[in-house]
C-alpha cells in the first residue's frame, strides 16, 4: 500500500467511525435534556466535598463568589453556608486540587461536590524520566496510562497489566508463574539476536535486570526465568502512571539504549493536606484446571491404545531394562520372582487382565491431585501526608499466594518510602527508598537442553505439575487400592509425583533494595539544575533441595542388576578400570544445589535546564546533562553432593562423585562476574511558537564498555528531530466546534541498543580441555572471539507520524500513528571463510525493515449524572522483514516453536517440514526432504533449508490490542476488558513419537489414527502406531519427530480473550463516613474467565503459553475480591 492510499484508507475509516459515534451521542444527549426554572431566593446551603476517588475532603475552602462569605469543610468533608443566594456560584479550593466553580441551582439546598485532583493534570503532561513536558509541546509518540485505570485487581506483576492497554504494545503471557516476565514488545521486534524488551524506568532511573533472559529463554521454563521480570518487586498500588514511549522522539534522551522503547513508571508522592491512609486488600482464588479444557485420552481409551502397542510388541518384558516404565513395566516386574521365589502376580491371562483392568478404570484426575483452588491475598497500606514544605508517602504491602499447585507458593513484602522537601524557594530535595523481599517455592527443575539430533528439548526430572498432568497418562495412578502412594519407575528408581514434589523443590529468595536521591536548584527563574542519583542492590538465591527420598537422588543409587548398572548414566565407572561394573557414588543423601545472583547498580545524572518565553510567543527550552551508570553482576552456583536432609543436615560426599563430576567435565561450582559501565551526554532544545508550532532537537552521545575495551567502538552519537503542529490553536480553527484538539506530529531519529557481541577486543577465556583422564588435563585459554574492530551498536532509524484528534468536548479522542523503522547493523551470527580462526562470527550483519500502525479510539459514549459508558479500543499492527542476514540456520533452528530467522522473512518466522501424506501400507508419515525428495527422514541438522521448508508465518502476532468497556451506574462500575491478537502461527505440542511408553499421556488425535483392523488398514488423519519391525526401519529417520515439526502440526495463534470482568461498588460518602471511612469500595473481578476464540486445532492448548515444562505455568482463571478503603 502506498502512503497516499494508506492515508485515504485511514481517513475513510475514521470518518465512518466519527459519524456513528456522533449519532449515538446525539441520541444520548436528547435524552438528557432538562429545564431549569429561575428563582432568586436566599437559602441555607449544606453540602459535602469529596475527591473524584470518593474520599471526603477536609479543610476545603468554600467561598461564595463576589462576596466575603465562606466556610471550611470538616473532617467528613461537610460544610454549611447560611443565607446566601440560591443561585450563587461557589468557589471551592484546596491545595493539590483543581479549583472549581459550582453554580447553585435554585431550590436545591444540599449539594455534593467533587473536586478533581491536580495530579490528574498529569494527563496533560508526558513524563519521559528526564523531563516532564506539556502534551501540547510534546512531539513524540507516547501513551499515558493511569495505574488506577488499567489495574486488574489480583494481578501482581505490573508488566502484565499493560496487555491490550496501549496501541502497539504487545504482551504475550508465555508463562504466568510469579516472577517470570511476559514477552513484552513495543512496536514489534527491533533486533534479531538481541533482546527486544523495552527499558523499564522507575522514577527517572532505569531498572536494570538482575539477570538477562534472552528471547528464547523467556519461554524455556528454566528456573532462571523466575527472575526474569524486572518489575516483580514493585507494588502495583504504589504506581501512579505509566508513560510508554514509543518513537525516536519520545525515547531520544535515552539514546543508545532505547531502541526497544521505554516504559516509564511514576510512583505516588505524598500530598500536602490532610493525612490520607488507604488500604487495598485483594483476596483471590485461582481455579484448578479441568480435563475438558485439554485434549487427553481417558484411562480406558489410553489402555486400548496400549493394547495396540502391546500387540505390536512395543510393551514387552524388555521394559524391565528401561530406565522408565509405567503400568506394563510394573506388571512384568510383579511377574518376576522375588528373592524367595514368590510371584506377586501370576503370569496368567486372567491375572494380567485383572491387573490391567484396574488401571483402565482408574481415570486419574491429575489436575485434582496436583492442583488446588489457591488462596491469594494481598494487603497494601499507604499513608500520604505533607505540608507545603514537605510531603511524605509511605506504603507497605504483603502478597501471599499459597500455590495453585501442591508444589509452589510465593510471599512478597514491599516497602516504599518517599519524602520531598522544599528547603527554600530555590532548593528542593527528595529521597526515595524502596525494598522488597520475595520467598518463593517452585517444583525442582533443571534447565533444558536442546537436542538438535532428534530436534527435541530434553529436561530430565521434570516435575512441573502442569506439564506432568498433561503428559502423564490418566491410567497411571498416584495411589494404590489401599490408598498408599503407588510408585512406577523413572530413572531406574521408584517414582511417585507427590513424593517427588515433596522431596525435590526449588526455593527462591530475592531481596531488592533501592535508595534514590533527587535535588533541584533554581539559579534564576529560568535556569535550573537537577541531580538524580540512585543505588540499587538485588540478590537472589535459588536453592534446589533434593532430599534423599527424591527420585533424583535415588536414581544415583539404582543398580538393581547388572543391566541397570550398565545403563544407568548416574553410576560411575572408573576410567582406569574399563571393564568394571559401574558403581554407586552417592551412597547417602541427596543434593543441595545453590545458585546466587547479585546486582549492584549506580545511576547518577546531572542536568541543567533553561526555559524562557519571549514576547509571550516564543518559548525556548534547553537542557544539557550527563549520566554515569554502573551495574556489576555476579553469578555463583554450586552443586552440593550427599546432603542428608533427614540426618541433621550433614553432607556425606563420596570422593568418587567429585571425581565423576570432574572427569565428565562438569563444573562442580561456577562463578562469573560481569561489569556494565555506561556514560552519556545529552542535550535538547525545544522551541514552541505561539502554542502552535513546536520543534524539538535531541542529541545524545553514549559510551559503553559492553562491546569490549576498544576505544573506537564504544562511543555512539544518536539524535532525533521532531515537530508538532497544534492545528486546533490556529485562528481558522477557533470557530470549528467539532474539533477540541487536533495535533499533527512527525519525528525522525536514530536510536540504538547494544547487541549481544562483546568482542571489540579479543575474547579469551580459560577452560578445561575435554580429555578423558584427569591426569592429562591442564588449564587452557580458549580463543572465544576474535577481535572485531568493526563492531558497533545495533541501530535503527524511525519515522513516526501522529494525529491526535478529539472532539465533542474531549468525549471522543482518536490517535493514529503510522510508523516506519529501518534497523541496521543488527548483530547476527554468520559463517565466515574461517581463515581468521572463527568459523561463525557475531557481526553487524543483518538489516531489517519494520512498519506498522498504532490506533487508539476512546470515547465517553454516555456521560450522565448517574450513568456513563466509556469505551476504549487499542489496535497495533506491525510487520517485520529481514532484508539482509548472512546466517545459515539449521532446519531445527527454523522449525522449533520459537521460530527462526531467514532473509526475506519476518523475525522469528515459523517454518515447517512439508508433510506429504501417510504411507498407505503402514500409516507412517512421509515428507519432502532436504534434497526435495519424498522421504521419511529429514536431516534436521541440514543447512540451506529455505529450499524445502514451508514458511508458515511469524511467531510474534501481527495484530494486538484490547477493547475495554466501562459502565457506571451511580456507585456501581462494571468493567469488561477483552484482549486479542492475530496473525501469528503456533507449533502444536510435540505428541508423536516412533515408540510410545506405558506412562505418557496421548492426545485425542490418537483416536483419529491410522490403525489396523484385521488385515486391512483404517484410514486416519494421524500417523499409525507402528510395530517393532517398522519402528526399527524408521529408527534414524526420526519420522514421527519430523511429523511434530511438519505442516500438519501448526495452528493459528489468533485469539480473543475476555481478560477481565469486574464489578465494583463504592459506598456513598455519607454512608462511608458513618462507619468511619473516607471512602470504601468493593470490587469483584474474574480474570481470564473466557478464551472466546482460538484455533480449533489447538484443542485446548493456550495460544499464548509455551508448554515448556520446568517452572512454566499457563495463565490461570482467577476470581478476585478487592476492598479499598480510605481513612
Amino acid at each position: 500500500m502506498t502512503k497516499e492510499k494508506f492515508n485515504n484508507f485511514v481517513g475513510s475509516v475514521s470518518t465512518k467511525l466519527l459519524k456513528t459515534v456522533a449519532f449515538l451521542l446525539l441520541a444520548a444527549g436528547s435524552l438528557a435534556l432538562n429545564s431549569a426554572n429561575a428563582q432568586t431566593a436566599e437559602a441555607d446551603i449544606t453540602g459535602t466535598v469529596q475527591s473524584d476517588k470518593n474520599i471526603a475532603l477536609a479543610g476545603v475552602s468554600v467561598t461564595v463568589k463576589g462576596t466575603n462569605k465562606g466556610a471550611v469543610t470538616n473532617a467528613k468533608g461537610e460544610f454549611e453556608l447560611k443565607r446566601i443566594s440560591g443561585t450563587a456560584t461557589l468557589v471551592i479550593t484546596l491545595v493539590g486540587y483543581n479549583t472549581l466553580e459550582y453554580k447553585l441551582t435554585a431550590g436545591k439546598t444540599n449539594v455534593s461536590i467533587r473536586l478533581s485532583e491536580l495530579v490528574s493534570t498529569l494527563d496533560d503532561v508526558v513524563v519521559t524520566g528526564f523531563q516532564t513536558i506539556n502534551k501540547k509541546k510534546f512531539t513524540g509518540a507516547s501513551v499515558k496510562l493511569k495505574a488506577d485505570d488499567i489495574k486488574i485487581d489480583g494481578v501482581a506483576d505490573v508488566s502484565r497489566m499493560l496487555e491490550g492497554r496501549a496501541a502497539g504494545v504487545s504482551v504475550q503471557n508465555v508463562s504466568s508463574t510469579f516472577g517470570s516476565a511476559p514477552k513484552l514488545r513495543i512496536r514489534g521486534a527491533t533486533s534479531i539476536s538481541g533482546d527486544n524488551k523495552p527499558l523499564w524506568v522507575v522514577d527517572g532511573v532505569v531498572l536494570e535486570d538482575l539477570i538477562n533472559i534472552s528471547n528464547d529463554q523467556l519461554s524455556s521454563g528454566d528456573p532462571a526465568t523466575l527472575l526474569g521480570s524486572a518489575v516483580a518487586g514493585l507494588n502495583v498500588n504504589d504506581i501512579e502512571t505509566f508513560d510508554i514511549l514509543k518513537d525516536a522522539a519520545a525515547t531520544a534522551l535515552y539514546g543508545a539504549r532505547a531502541m526497544n522503547g521505554v516504559v516509564v513508571i511514576t510512583t505516588k508522592k505524598g500530598k500536602a493536606g490532610k493525612t490520607q491512609v488507604s488500604y487495598t486488600g485483594n483476596f483471590s482464588t485461582q481455579l484448578k484446571p479441568t480435563y475438558n479444557e485439554y485434549n487427553i485420552l481417558n484411562s480406558a481409551q489410553q489402555m486400548s491404545v496400549w493394547g495396540e502397542l502391546e500387540r505390536k510388541g512395543n510393551l514387552g518384558p524388555s521394559l524391565l531394562s528401561q530406565s522408565n516404565f509405567g503400568v506394563y513395566g510394573k506388571m512384568y516386574d510383579l511377574m518376576s520372582a522375588d528373592a524367595n521365589g514368590n510371584f506377586a502376580l501370576e503370569n496368567t491371562v486372567e491375572a494380567r487382565k485383572a491387573f490391567l483392568l484396574r488401571y483402565a478404570k482408574e481415570n486419574t484426575d491429575w489436575f485434582d491431585i496436583l492442583f488446588r483452588n489457591s488462596f491469594v491475598q494481598e494487603h497494601s497500606i499507604s499513608i500520604s501526608t505533607g505540608t507545603d514544605k514537605s510531603q511524605s508517602f509511605f506504603s507497605a504491602s504483603y502478597y501471599n499466594d499459597n500455590g495453585w499447585t501442591v508444589a509452589d507458593n510465593v510471599k512478597r513484602y514491599t516497602l516504599n518510602f518517599r519524602n520531598n522537601y522544599t528547603l527554600s524557594n530555590k532548593l528542593n530535595v527528595g529521597f526515595l527508598t524502596t525494598a522488597s523481599y520475595r520467598d518463593q517455592l517452585a517444583p525442582g527443575t533443571l534447565s533444558r537442553t536442546s537436542n538438535p539430533v532428534s530436534g527435541s528439548f530434553d529436561r530430565d526430572f521434570d516435575l512441573n505439575p502442569f506439564s506432568f498432568s498433561l503428559n502423564t497418562s490418566r491410567a497411571i495412578t498416584a495411589y494404590d487400592e489401599n490408598g498408599n502412594r503407588e510408585f512406577f519407575r523413572r530413572n531406574f528408581a521408584p517414582f511417585n509425583v507427590l513424593t517427588e514434589l515433596e522431596n525435590n523443590r526449588l526455593r527462591i529468595n530475592v531481596i531488592d533494595l533501592k535508595l534514590q536521591g533527587e535535588l533541584g536548584y533554581k539559579f534564576t527563574k529560568n535556569f535550573k539544575y537537577d541531580f538524580i542519583g540512585s543505588v540499587r542492590y538485588v540478590r537472589s538465591t535459588r536453592q534446589h533441595e533434593i532430599s534423599e527420598q527424591a527420585n533424583m537422588a535415588n536414581a544415583y543409587r539404582a543398580n538393581g542388576n547388572s543391566t541397570i548398572a550398565e545403563n544407568n548414566k548416574f553410576l560411575y565407572r572408573d576410567p582406569d578400570k574399563p571393564e568394571s561394573i559401574p558403581e554407586v557414588v552417592l551412597p547417602y543423601g541427596g543434593f543441595l544445589n545453590r545458585t546466587e545472583n547479585q546486582l549492584l547498580s549506580f545511576d547518577i545524572r546531572n542536568t541543567v535546564s533553561y526555559t524562557q518565553t519571549f514576547n509571550s510567543k516564543h518559548v525556548v527550552t534547553a537542557l544539557a546533562g550527563q549520566q554515569v551508570r554502573l551495574a556489576d553482576r555476579q553469578n555463583f552456583s554450586n552443586t552440593g553432593y550427599g546432603y542428608q536432609y533427614d540426618n541433621g543436615g550433614v553432607p556425606f560426599t563420596d570422593p568418587r562423585i567429585l571425581k565423576q563430576t570432574i572427569e565428565s567435565n562438569f563444573p562442580y561450582y561456577e562463578f562469573t562476574k560481569t561489569a556494565d559501565r555506561f556514560v552519556g551526554f545529552y542535550g535538547n532544545v525545544d522551541y514552541l511558537y505561539d502554542r502552535r508550532y513546536s520543534i524539538s532537537v535531541v542529541g545524545r552521545y553514549d559510551g559503553s564498555n559492553q562491546l569490549g575495551s576498544s576505544k573506537t567502538a564504544r562511543w555512539l552519537p544518536t539524535g532525533t528531530v521532531s515537530a508538532a503542529w497544534n492545528i486546533d490553536e490556529e485562528n481558522f480553527m477557533q470557530h470549528i466546534d467539532a474539533v477540541d484538539y487536533l495535533k499533527l506530529r512527525v519525528s525522525y531519529g536514530l536510536t540504538a541498543s547494544l547487541g549481544p557481541a562483546r568482542n571489540s577486543n579479543i575474547v579469551l577465556r580459560n577452560k578445561t580441555p575435554n580429555r578423558p583422564y584427569s591426569t592429562e588435563r591442564e588449564s587452557v585459554i580458549d580463543l572465544v572471539n576474535l577481535e572485531n574492530s568493526e563492531i558497533t551498536w545495533e541501530k535503527n532509524y524511525q519515522l513516526n507520524f501522529g494525529i491526535d484528534y478529539s472532539m465533542f468536548k474531549n468525549r471522543l479522542s482518536v490517535t493514529v500513528e503510522p510508523w516506519f523503522r529501518k534497523s541496521f547493523d543488527l548483530i547476527g551470527s554468520f559463517k565466515t571463510s574461517g581463515i581468521g580462526g572463527e568459523a561463525y562470527k557475531l557481526a553487524n550483519y543483518a538489516d531489517m525493515k519494520a512498519n506498522g500502525i498504532d490506533l487508539l479510539v476512546s470515547g465517553q459514549i454516555i456521560k450522565k449524572k448517574d450513568w456513563g459508558w466509556k469505551s476504549t479500543v487499542t489496535f497495533g499492527y506491525s510487520t517485520t522483514k529481514i532484508t539482509r542476514i548472512k546466517n545459515e540456520p539449521l532446519v531445527f533452528d527454523l522449525v522449533k516453536p520459537e521460530g527462526g530467522n531467514m532473509e526475506g522473512y519476518p523475525v522469528n518466522g515459523l517454518f515447517s517440514i512439508d508433510y506429504l501424506r501417510l504411507i498407505s501400507t503402514n500409516g507412517t508419515p512421509i515428507f519432502v526432504n532436504e534434497n526435495d525428495q519424498p522421504n521419511q527422514a529429514v536431516y534436521l541438522q541440514a543447512t540451506g533449508s529455505d529450499t524445502f521448508l514451508i514458511y508458515q508465518g511469524q511467531v510474534d502476532p501481527k495484530f494486538t490490542g484490547g477493547f475495554n468497556n466501562s459502565f457506571t451506574y451511580k456507585n456501581f462500575t462494571l468493567n469488561a476488558f477483552l484482549t486479542y491478537q492475530a496473525g501469528n502461527m503456533i507449533r502444536l505440542n510435540p505428541s508423536f513419537k516412533n515408540g510410545y511408553t506405558d506412562y505418557d499421556a496421548m492426545p485425542k488425535e490418537f483416536y483419529d489414527r491410522f490403525s489396523v483392523l484385521g488385515e486391512s488398514f483404517v484410514n486416519g488423519v494421524q500417523p499409525a502406531i507402528v510395530d517393532r519391525v517398522t519402528a526399527a526401519q524408521l529408527s534414524g529417520t526420526y519420522a514421527y519427530n519430523n511429523y511434530n515439526y511438519s505442516t500438519a502440526r501448526v495452528a493459528k495463534g489468533d485469539f480473543i480473550r475476555l481478560k477481565s470482568v469486574s464489578l465494583s461498588y463504592s459506598l456513598p460518602i455519607v454512608k462511608a463516613n458513618k462507619i468511619g471511612f473516607n471512602a470504601l469500595s468493593f470490587t469483584v473481578t474474574a480474570i481470564n474467565p473466557w478464551l472466546i476464540y482460538a484455533d480449533k486445532k489447538l484443542e485446548g492448548q493456550d495460544p499464548e503459553f509455551f508448554n515448556a515444562g520446568g517452572v512454566a505455568q499457563p495463565i490461570q482463571k482467577q476470581i478476585n475480591f478487592s476492598i479499598k478503603a480510605g481513612l
Binding site: 533443571l446 534447565s447 537442553t449 537436542n451 530434553d458 530430565d460 582406569d576 574399563p578 571393564e579 552443586t639 563430576t661 565428565s664 562438569f666 562476574k673 560481569t674 561489569a675 559501565r677 556514560v679 559510551g703 559503553s704 564498555n705 559492553q706 562491546l707 569490549g708 575495551s709 562483546r758 579479543i762 575474547v763 579469551l764 577465556r765 580441555p769 575435554n770 580429555r771 578423558p772 592429562e776 588435563r777 591442564e778 588449564s779 587452557v780 585459554i781 580458549d782 576474535l786 577481535e787 572485531n788 574492530s789 559463517k831 565466515t832 571463510s833 574461517g834 581463515i835 581468521g836 580462526g837 568459523a839 562470527k841 557481526a843 553487524n844 527422514a937 541438522q941 543447512t943 534414524g1036
Partner: protein, 488 residues
C-alpha cells in the same frame, strides 16, 4: 558565546578522557595474555581441534561398503564416493579447515603477545611452540586442500592462505599463493621454532609439540619433500638406536592380554610412550567405525590376518591385530579410537563427542626412517628397523621364523630390493594405521589407485587426480579465494 563553546568543549574533552578510563573495564572476566604461562595456556589450543580421519580414511583402499542397513553418515559416504562432502559438522573437511585455522589464530595471537611483551626473552619456548603449531596446521591444510607437493614439479598450483597475523575485521581478504610458497613458509616456521622448543615448559607434554614430536613432524615434512637426508637426521632424534622395540606399542605382549575396553583405554593415552603427540579433537569418528563404509571383513581377510612378506607357503605369520579385531557381519574394527562423550550437563542425554587423536607416533617415525634409509641406500638398517617393528606385531613372534630379510622381500616383490622394501613398508604401514587416515598420504605420495564399490550402484567410483584435492568451504569465496576445480 565563543568562549562558552570553548570551555564547554574543553570540559567535555576532560570528561571524555575520564570516561574512557571508566569504560576501560572489561565487560566480563576474560583472560589477558600477560605472562609466559598464559601464552602457554593459549598455545594448548593451537592444535587443530578437528579430526581428519573420517574423510581421509574413507578415501582410501582400507574401506569398503559393508552394505548394512545403517544410514551412512555424509562424513564418510561422500569421501567414499569421492564427492564433495556436504556436511559441515565434525569430521567433515570443512570442520577440519576451521579447526586448523582456529589453531593458527591461537599461534598468531601468541606470537603477537610475545612480540608486545617487554620481556621477550622469557617467551622463547612459547615462541617455539607457536611457530611449530602454526607450521603444522598449515602443513595439514595444504596437504588436504591443495595439490600434493611434488619436488619434481614447480608446485605452482594454488596453496592455502598462510596466515601470520591475527584477523581483526569481519571479512578479510586472503590469497592462496602457491603450494611451494606454503611449503617454504612451513619450513621457515618449523626451522625457526624447533630449536626453541623446551619440553620442560609443558604441563602435559603428550598434548604438545615436545622436541621428539617436533622432530617427528620435521621428518614427515621432509619425507613429503623427499629430502631423505633430512628425514634421517630428524628421525635420529626420535627413533632410539637401541631397544627400539621397547618404544613401540606392545601389541603382542601386554596389549595381547587386554580386553576391548582396556585397549580403547590405553591406545590414545599419554602414558603410552609410542604416542608422541596427542590432540583432543571434536569428533564422532568413533561411531563411524561401526557404520556402513569402513574396514570390511574382506579387507580384513586380505590384509588384516597374514603379515605380508613374512608369510610364505611354509611359514605362518599372523598379525597380532587379527586377534584384537572385533566385529560381526561384514564389519571389522580394532579398538583404537574411543569416543569420549561429554554430556552438556549432569542429566543430559546429549553432549559432544571427542577423540584423542594420535597425530605423531613412534611407529610412523620408524617407518619414515626406514623409508629414508631405503632411498639413501641403507637397506640393511631399514630391514633391521622393520624387524624391530615386527617383533612387537607378529602373533607368537619367533625370530627364527619371522625375521624379515632382503631375500624374503625380493621373493615377495620381484624387482629391485629398494622397490620391494618400499612396498613392504607401505603394506605394514597400511595395517598399522588402519582407521587412522595415514594411508591417504601414502596414496597421494605413491599414486596408489583406489576404487570403491557401492552396493546397488553398478559403476565403481575411482579416485582421479582432481578428487585428490578436497574442496574448500563454500564460504572461502567471501575472503576472495578461488575454490578448487573439482566439480562434485
Amino acid at each position: 558565546m565563543k568562549n562558552t563553546i570553548l570551555y564547554l568543549s574543553l570540559l567535555l574533552l576532560t570528561a571524555m578522557a575520564g570516561c574512557n578510563k571508566f569504560l576501560d573495564k572489561e565487560p566480563d572476566n576474560r583472560a589477558k595474555l600477560n605472562s609466559p604461562e598464559k601464552v602457554s595456556q593459549l598455545l594448548a589450543t593451537a592444535y587443530p581441534g578437528a579430526n581428519y580421519m573420517a574423510f581421509a580414511e574413507s578415501s582410501t583402499d582400507n574401506v569398503a561398503d559393508r552394505a548394512n542397513s545403517n544410514t551412512p553418515p555424509n562424513e564418510t559416504r561422500d569421501p567414499y564416493m569421492f564427492k564433495n562432502v556436504r556436511s559441515t559438522f565434525e569430521d567433515s573437511p570443512e570442520f577440519y579447515w576451521h579447526g586448523c585455522y582456529k589453531a593458527i589464530a591461537a599461534s598468531n595471537l601468541a606470537l603477537q603477545a610475545i612480540e608486545a611483551a617487554p620481556d621477550k626473552q622469557n617467551y622463547a619456548s612459547q615462541k617455539g611452540e607457536a611457530l611449530v603449531t602454526r607450521a603444522y596446521a598449515h602443513f595439514m591444510l595444504v596437504n588436504f586442500f591443495s595439490k600434493f607437493y611434488d619436488p619434481s614439479t614447480d608446485n605452482s598450483s594454488p596453496g592455502i592462505p598462510y596466515v601470520t597475523e591475527p584477523e581483526n575485521v569481519v571479512i578479510k581478504q586472503y590469497e592462496r599463493k602457491t603450494v611451494k610458497y606454503v611449503y617454504d613458509m612451513i619450513e621457515k616456521d618449523l626451522l625457526e621454532g624447533l630449536p626453541l622448543i623446551k619440553d620442560e615448559a609443558y604441563v602435559v607434554p603428550a598434548y604438545h609439540f615436545t622436541r621428539i614430536a617436533t622432530n617427528a613432524f620435521a621428518a614427515r615434512f621432509y619425507l613429503f619433500k623427499k629430502d631423505y637426508a633430512k628425514v634421517l637426521s630428524y628421525t635420529s632424534q626420535v627413533v632410539p638406536t637401541t631397544a627400539v622395540a621397547s618404544k613401540l606399542r606392545p601389541w603382542n605382549t601386554s596389549y595381547a592380554a587386554m580386553t576391548r575396553l582396556e585397549l580403547f583405554n590405553i591406545y590414545t593415552r599419554a602414558i603410552e610412550p609410542a604416542n608422541l603427540l596427542l590432540c583432543e579433537t571434536t569428533s564422532v569418528y568413533g561411531r563411524f567405525i561401526y557404520d556402513r563404509f569402513g574396514y570390511h571383513v574382506n579387507t580384513f581377510r586380505a590384509i588384516g590376518i597374514e603379515v605380508p612378506v613374512i608369510t610364505t607357503n611354509t611359514v605362518t605369520a599372523q598379525w597380532q591385530f587379527a586377534y584384537q579385531s572385533y566385529g560381526g557381519d561384514n564389519l571389522v574394527y580394532i579398538p583404537k579410537l574411543n569416543e569420549y562423550f561429554v554430556r552438556v550437563s549432569v542429566n543430559a542425554e546429549i553432549g559432544n563427542a571427542y577423540i584423542m587423536a594420535p597425530l605423531f607416533t613412534m611407529e610412523e617415525a620408524l617407518f619414515n626412517r626406514a623409508e629414508a634409509l631405503t632411498y639413501t641406500g641403507n637397506a640393511t638398517e631399514a630391514i633391521s628397523l622393520l624387524n624391530n617393528y615386527l617383533s612387537t606385531r607378529v602373533y607368537f613372534y619367533t625370530s627364527s621364523l619371522h625375521t624379515l630379510t632382503a631375500a624374503k622381500i625380493t621373493a615377495a616383490y620381484p624387482g629391485t630390493l629398494q622397490n620391494g622394501l618400499i612396498n613392504t613398508i607401505l603394506a605394514y604401514k597400511r595395517m598399522e594405521f588402519i582407521h587412522e587416515g595415514m594411508r591417504w598420504f601414502d596414496i597421494l605420495r605413491y599414486n596408489i589407485p583406489v576404487t570403491h564399490f557401492v552396493a546397488g550402484d553398478t559403476s565403481p567410483y575411482s579416485l582421479t587426480e582432481e578428487k585428490k584435492v578436497f574442496q574448500l568451504p563454500q564460504t572461502a569465496v567471501l575472503s576472495g579465494l578461488q575454490l578448487n576445480p573439482r566439480k562434485d
